[in-house]
Symmetry: C2
Subunit: 477 residues, 2 copies
């Protein structure tokens, strides 16, 4: 039977984490592969998670004064080339349109890998006076980067994201917005996705092409690898000078604007899978679970059972996202399927429960079962969803704490990473030579210079010279 | 002053309708032009309308059992070519990607002009059994068609839309879904956009490339031109045969699926502008107005006025989308701006109103003013928004009735179209020769064969042979 096969075929995450991940995205029906190399179909179960992410993130954006817009998906080659660092960073990985209809184009267009250059071209004509500032715009769209190695949600040639692009009158205001959006991202990950993150700054080596400073939120996955989950960039006035974006200030002097950009993507779905999933499949935090409660009738052919299941669904749907599994599969298969798909709560209701006026709630995350009175079902379910959301964050935080280490020497750093993965905190002198040496030797990258600094020792873990900063190191996705 | 200029610069719609349209989209800040020929920026005021359209249409989709997905934006050339009629229709107007990064691609990819071929390629692997049917999927995305002549919202090289793609076990079910979605579109246009539409079938000449039958909703604009506002196609099993999409039916026999597709786009924003706008600017139906109520303080420096304006906003924001214009412009300018932007209701509140416990509500659509008690403000505003929504539809319907004509001969047809534009109903023999002849002679196209047929005469308006159907003719956008 197809369902049994489905459940049995998940590779254990301890055996092969990468294969476990691929199995889960396929068996939970989040994606499908396509004839277009490196691009995927996001299926209903996957897209519904994205819709919940979008809706909740967009609400927070609107509260933070962000307005949505839509800019073209094409960038003329000459426009991409206007900011030197930016084009160097992106040109090697863009897709080029050379023909429109039957005619060759006079100038090639790239499919946007990110839209800084388009926003600059727009702001150049849109901003004239200090009265026009700030501009705090965002767009939800897809972008294309011609990656060689791809993995569903984590790295694909096309992906969905939001990209915010702002323009400000002063350096201070731009910096403030950069950090405000990073904080918003961090809160969103913790409160909605139940994923704790480390906030910090990227080293110069790892920063965005064209940025003065890049800030990041870094999350730790089950296998101890780090996932960059969102970034926020301060561009200073570099793009403004390259594109000529000037405004008349209150004193009538012409000044360049200061800009920022920030983005999160469908990669977050990968983060959810790898931060919360287990060997039975997906485990979804209630706030992004398209189905929060699945009612499974036991002995559904017995009188009244199915009717009761529908009645419970109708009652619950006023307060949560619920469905009944009324297919002719056995309860066991239904349980396995509900687990695979990560529904936070399963409600079991059979003839005996009917008589006793009770039902069983089973948590997906801990698999713990409790009997509750049918009378108080809405209340019990709402409370349990809250508890699950909260405890999933706590467990993810505990997992991260248990896999965060400190190293005071290259030997220690090496030992830790040879024994597995995790975040490793170590002191750094600030030189790129040391950063390169560590990356070369251990195949790990600097994840960030965290805002919460600690002084582990006085010297750089690599060269022994005086240390300037504590850095998080990790293996990256 | 910039605002005065803005308001004064709208061309009257009677002088030059096309220029009036362009003025409104620019002055109401819906769009901006870009360096990318034929592509536009949708600015916050324009995108917010699209968000309201999306949200309300998507709700109706979900009630109709539609699930959202996301497919790649690229189509390999060989995939596009699989269905003969389809590729002939679209190949001349697609954009081709020939390079990924620094390498030429082995096979060119086109940027989707529509996604039938991608959905077929996906369904081919996704559908196996009758248990997998129906598939009722939709995606919100942008598509690209390399048009030569472009106009904001009406025809641009890239535009935003939704495209639904379904697969069914039987011909009947596919036909039913085709009509169900057309009806949903028609209801949406009338109930949400306040635009009445004619439902009907396209002639074979005008149908979608690859469809067995195309159905359409046609709306009449202020200038008497017709706007195709949404289409729904029945593909029969043509695509299924070309792509090999088969399923095992209950009797275990292999059958081809029957498919449909249906779409509406940002063109609807153009329809709103041209169906409701006037010489003062945009007129938005309340259901798609990002700002439904604009509170304008009179003599705002007088004690208590501005505070009262904020208080009213805070009260109103629980039941509608409201803002206060507290800039230092004069009330007159604020009125003109509020009219330009199409806010359905403007609330005027000054020192005398404060004393009397009243304020003035001014309707954008009729410019009618009424005094209402501050105590009952929420109620009065809610009622007025309902009334405006309803009366805008009635007025648009009356306008259409007044510009719908019947013709029983070529001479009559010619006379009507030489005197202006509108819908002209005329009998047709069903031959494409007559359709071509009318188009050639009068520069008008058959808009649809309406579901509500009338028998105007026994003979074709063109050739005089026996008539089969009544057709709506019009000048198209």
């Amino acid at each position: 039977m197809a369902d049994k096969k489905m459940v049995e075929e998940i590779t254990s995450m301890d055996v092969d984490f990468a294969q476990w991940y691929t199995d889960v995205v396929k068996k939970a029906e989040l994606i499908d592969y396509t004839s277009v190399k490196g691009c995927m179909v996001i299926k209903p179960a996957g897209y519904a998670i994205w819709e919940l992410i979008q809706r909740q993130l967009d609400e927070r954006f609107k509260e933070a004064g962000v307005e949505n817009v839509y800019l073209p998906m094409f960038i003329p080659e000459s426009l991409l080339q206007k900011e030197k660092d930016h084009v160097e960073g992106f040109a090697p990985e863009v897709a080029w349109v050379t023909h429109g209809g039957l005619q060759p184009l006079q100038e090639r267009l790239c499919v946007r890998p990110t839209s800084e250059t388009l926003f600059c071209d727009f702001y150049k004509n849109d901003i004239h006076s200090y009265r026009d500032l700030p501009r705090v715009y965002n767009q939800w769209c897809s972008v294309v980067r011609w990656e060689k190695e791809t993995r569903p949600f984590l790295r694909s040639r096309e992906f969905l994201w939001q990209e915010g692009h702002t323009a400000h009158a002063t350096e201070e205001e731009a910096q403030q917005r950069t950090i405000q959006m990073l904080n918003l991202y961090a809160q969103f990950c913790e409160e909605v996705l139940a994923i704790p993150v480390i906030k910090g700054q990227k080293t110069d080596k790892e920063k965005f092409a064209g940025a003065v400073a890049t800030y990041t939120i870094e999350a730790l996955m089950h296998d101890g690898k780090a996932l960059q989950s969102g970034t926020s960039h301060n561009f200073g006035d570099g793009f403004a000078r390259a594109f000529g974006i000037q405004f008349a200030d209150k004193d009538n002097s012409l000044k360049y604007v200061h800009q920022t950009s920030w983005g999160m993507s469908t990669r977050l779905i990968g983060a959810i899978i790898m931060a919360h999933g287990d060997n039975e499949g997906l485990v979804l935090p209630p706030k992004v679970a398209p189905i929060q409660v699945c009612v499974i009738p036991i002995q559904q052919k017995k009188e009244g059972v199915l009717e009761k299941a529908y009645e419970l669904r109708d009652r619950l749907k006023k307060t949560c996202r619920v469905k009944v599994d009324d297919t002719d599969k056995s309860p066991g298969w239904k349980f396995a399927e509900a687990e695979m798909r990560g529904y936070p709560i399963r409600v079991e209701i059979g003839p005996k429960d009917l008589e006793a006026g009770k039902c069983v709630l089973c948590r997906r995350d801990t698999r713990e079962k409790t009997e509750v009175s049918l009378e108080k079902l809405e209340e019990s379910v709402a409370q349990l969803l809250d508890t699950i959301q909260k405890e999933m964050l706590e467990r993810a935080r505990a997992h991260r704490e248990a896999h965060t280490y400190t190293a005071e020497s290259m030997k220690e750093l090496e030992e830790i990473f040879s024994g597995g993965s995790g975040f490793v905190k170590a002191m750094w002198c600030g030189s790129q030579d040391c950063e390169d040496a560590i990356k070369e030797k251990l195949s790990v990258t600097s994840r960030c210079i965290p805002f919460e600094q600690e002084k582990l020792s006085d010297v750089c873990v690599c060269c022994g010279k005086p240390a300037k900063k504590m850095v998080y190191w990790g293996k990256a996705y």
